[in-house]
């Protein structure tokens, strides 16, 4: 049994969301029956943005509800998509007559549950659109991009979508801009040790003391290769090669960079990786417009990190620059 500071393994998602809602200091409301939080104030006629997925990836998703970010987040159990009735309740809570954009990671469970919720919402005359995030280059080849998983790149998509939703004329416009952001992002992760699901108390995968999994997914899904441990610079070279060649990112591009902790990796290691990332980007003549380093999208106590890049154009830059205020992302 892996040690965790919890009360009841069956109630971790619920208790964490309760604590998160309290930390918002009144800026959010907890819909306890739906295991969702929504902004206290959502003005009339606003196109709404609802994000969501399984719990266990904190601060994703509920940590990104706020000004110029998501209007609501609906949370499933650990690593399990929320159910359609939860999503529908959150949909009704954020809808202001202009419809709701569903934004979530591309996993079978999320896809099916959000699809069912969308059908139920349609029956209630609430228009919805769905965008599935698929930034993980390790999870499928480019020609099967619709099969890729959503990982830390979620953060950038939520940032752009949230800013866009604050002024978008309609759901179609929000969908267009959010799709562009999604399509300009590429990510890849690595893991050196597993996370665990509180209710089973067991690690989600096994890995040798001297091994590293390159391309590891957010729930312990296997990546592209399992190797012996290697220096940070060698590892970053491999990850960046996969990421840069995929979009591809080329000389003259301007990017936002996210170096994301998967749970148990130290800030020191992330910063060492960042040094090498910047060397590579400088060498490729790719300029970095902004950098985020820290825990944004985790997998319980998994040790490892991911790199995400979002290529900017003038429109995306405009939305990226807008201030944002939430528990886990503040931009002034």
């Amino acid at each position: 049994m892996i040690k965790k500071i919890i009360n009841n393994p069956k109630k971790v998602a619920e208790e964490a969301l309760h604590g998160l809602n309290l930390a918002y200091q009144g800026k959010t409301i907890l819909l306890s029956n739906a295991s969702a939080i929504v902004k206290t104030t959502i003005h009339d006629q606003k196109v709404a943005l609802l994000v969501g997925g399984g719990s266990g990836h904190e601060p994703l998703f509920a940590g990104f509800v706020g000004t110029n970010l998501a209007d609501g987040a609906v949370c499933g159990n650990v690593f399990a998509a929320p159910s359609p009735d939860q999503i529908l309740a959150a949909t009704q809570a954020v809808n202001r007559g202009k419809g709701v954009l569903y934004l979530y990671g591309n996993y079978a469970g999320d896809n099916m549950n959000f699809d069912i919720a969308a059908e139920l919402a349609t029956a209630m005359d609430i228009p919805t659109k769905s965008i599935r995030i698929w930034d993980d280059v390790a999870s499928a080849p480019l020609e099967k991009i619709e099969e890729r998983r959503g990982i830390a790149g979620d953060l950038f998509v939520i940032k752009i979508a949230g800013a866009s939703a604050s002024s978008a004329a309609n759901l179609e416009e929000l969908t267009r801009i959010t799709t562009k952001a999604r399509d300009n992002i590429r990510s890849m992760g690595v893991a050196v040790s597993p996370g665990s699901i509180p209710e089973t108390g067991e690690p989600t995968f096994e890995i040798g003391e001297d091994e590293i999994e390159i391309g590891m997914g957010l729930h312990g899904e296997p990546g592209v290769a399992r190797e012996k441990m290697m220096p940070a610079n060698v590892l970053v070279d491999v990850m960046m090669e996969h990421i840069l060649t995929d979009l591809p990112f080329v000389a003259g591009d301007e990017v936002c960079l996210l170096v994301n902790n998967l749970g148990a990796t130290t800030m020191m290691e992330l910063l060492i990786a960042n040094t090498r990332i910047r060397e590579i980007l400088a060498d490729k003549e790719i300029s970095v417009y902004d950098t985020l380093v820290g825990s944004y999208c985790t997998s319980q106590e998994m040790a490892g990190f991911s790199i995400s890049l979002m290529k900017l154009d003038n429109e995306l830059k405009k939305y990226y620059d807008m201030p944002a205020d939430s528990l886990a992302l503040i931009k002034r």
């Binding site: 159990n77 159910s83 996993y107 079978a108 549950n113 099969e147």
Partner: protein
């Protein structure tokens, strides 16, 4: 004596029996999922059937289809994840095959498996060979269709056997959907957890009906 049909009250008892046995299967399902998925399948199914047991205890049902539909919506709401969507859709779909049935007999059982299968395929977009619960359900639905003139004990035995062999066959398949899909060949040798659950549901169905038959 052979059982030819179940009354509304007996269908409710059937689901009470299935629920308690699915809850008991929690650890086995979790271990199966740890080998190939993210290890939460047993937890989810147990949570779902605990909710079903409560619903059965508290609810009044107007028809056999109503029970199936309630079981489906309860699983959909309480399991979450892919398992909730799939098994919820299965029972909701199955209820479509039971319209206007005052009892569950063999032809109705065959229709309900077929209707459940169709709903699962629409929702999950999986087909036979994708290493999912469809690999257990589709042969079971076919076995039911081919044996709908037989008694309920016989038809449930044959569907249970078809599902079991379909489930066993998933060991030889490479996952193409769900969280196991990136395992590729590493998914070989392990049965699909959803197929295990489907074959268990059909096995418990037969065991319960066999039990009724033995009492007669």
């Amino acid at each position: 004596m052979a059982v030819n049909s179940l009354s509304l009250e007996q269908v409710k008892d059937l689901f009470v029996f299935i629920s308690s046995h699915m809850i008991e299967s929690k650890d086995m399902l979790t271990h199966a999922d740890q080998a190939i998925g993210d290890g939460d399948h047993g937890i989810g199914m147990a949570r779902g059937f605990e909710a079903v047991a409560e619903k059965l205890d508290s609810g009044d049902f107007s028809s056999v289809a109503d029970i199936f539909r309630s079981v489906g919506f309860t699983l959909l709401a309480s399991i979450g994840g892919a398992s909730g969507a799939i098994f919820g859709s299965f029972f909701i779909g199955a209820s479509n095959g039971l319209k206007d049935c005052s009892k569950l007999d063999s032809p109705a059982f065959a229709r309900c498996l077929q209707a459940g299968l169709e709903m699962v395929k629409i929702r999950g977009k999986a087909k036979v060979g994708d290493k999912t619960m469809v690999d257990a359900l589709e042969p079971a639905a076919q076995a039911a269709q081919a044996n709908k003139e037989k008694s309920l004990d016989e038809i449930t035995l044959l569907t249970s056997q078809a599902a079991e062999s379909g489930k066993e066959n998933t060991k030889n398949l490479i996952a193409t959907t769900g969280k196991a899909k990136t395992l590729g060949e590493r998914s070989l040798g392990h049965p699909d957890p959803g197929a295990i659950s489907m074959s268990l549901i059909l096995r418990f169905t037969h065991e319960h009906i066999q039990g009724l038959s033995n009492e007669m």
